[in-house]
Homo-oligomer: 177 residues x 2
């Protein structure tokens, strides 16, 4: 396979929905095809680059916007980006689309109850105990995408299959061939 | 040629020394060898991602540190980075090295008088007219590297040759083969 045009795959969804796993899966599938893509994980970017940001709507939007600019810079270098970020607000994702231009919004859908049950990082427990403020779904909104480019349901489909579907979308849209 | 290990080429030097041209040259040479690298231009990163930052020592250091984290994230994805940033303080470059780990500090040396004469972006003129504060060399310090990995002298050598020398260094150090 070859890369026809750099793109940004933007994975949005709740904490525990499976975004990180899926990002790694997409990166690996692309890598097997000789296409190297950069994963930008919202948590890691925030922690390393912007530790001063909190979780208010304003700070979340700023984090999302900065990640979008990073993805765009990477795209401008001819390299695809895979963003994994809760990005709970429609407005934030819309601005990310405006910044990145070649963006595919993937809704990583998983019922909140299942995400909370998985609680991979123990964050839901902390949020329920009041030890984390502004935690998406527990004490902060998540605005589901109205018109995502693709929905993957990690509670119904294996992560591998979800990753494959993203590659199929990239092929259909002419980003890879 | 193949990439053996991701790296960050860090180009430091005055405004007008030729960092941007050189970054593009290194990116192109690597690209011809089938190695795709991401260029992070200090001016562009600042403008797009951190427009709130000024040019005080503190803000410059923060900008440099964030660029270093971006380069590291890119390296962690298996992709080389080429940073072009004045990065005038030794301390900032030292922290960049600590963050990026596989960093090659390239001093893009060019006498200030020549940089000012070139004045590609008209910034020296503005700084002299007092319309830009904290402008490196005019009203702000530039601390030359004590032990750069390489010095390229853009007023004595063609940009192409400087770029080649950087590739030679990358080969010698085992990053590309």
């Amino acid at each position: 396979m070859i890369l026809k045009k750099p793109f940004t795959v933007w994975l949005t969804g709740l904490s525990g929905a499976g975004k990180t796993t899926l990002a790694a899966g997409v990166q690996q599938l692309l890598g097997q095809e000789g296409i190297r893509a950069a994963v930008l994980d919202g948590d890691i970017v925030r922690k390393k680059l912007f530790p001063e940001l909190g979780f208010t709507k304003k700070d979340r939007e700023l984090n999302v916007k900065r990640i979008a600019h990073m993805a765009r810079l990477i795209n401008d270098n001819g390299i695809p980006a895979i963003v994994s970020a809760i990005s709970p607000y429609r407005s934030g994702r819309a601005s990310a689309r405006a910044v990145t231009r070649e963006m595919l919004e993937i809704f990583v859908e998983c019922p909140p109850e299942i995400c909370e049950k998985r609680d991979v990082k123990g964050l839901y427990r902390k949020a329920r105990a009041g030890r984390i403020d502004n935690f998406t779904w527990v004490s902060d909104p998540y605005e589901e995408p109205d018109r995502p480019d693709l929905i993957v349901r990690t509670h119904k489909e294996a992560a591998d299959r979800c990753a494959e579907r993203i590659l199929e979308l990239l092929t259909t849209r002419g980003y890879i061939k």
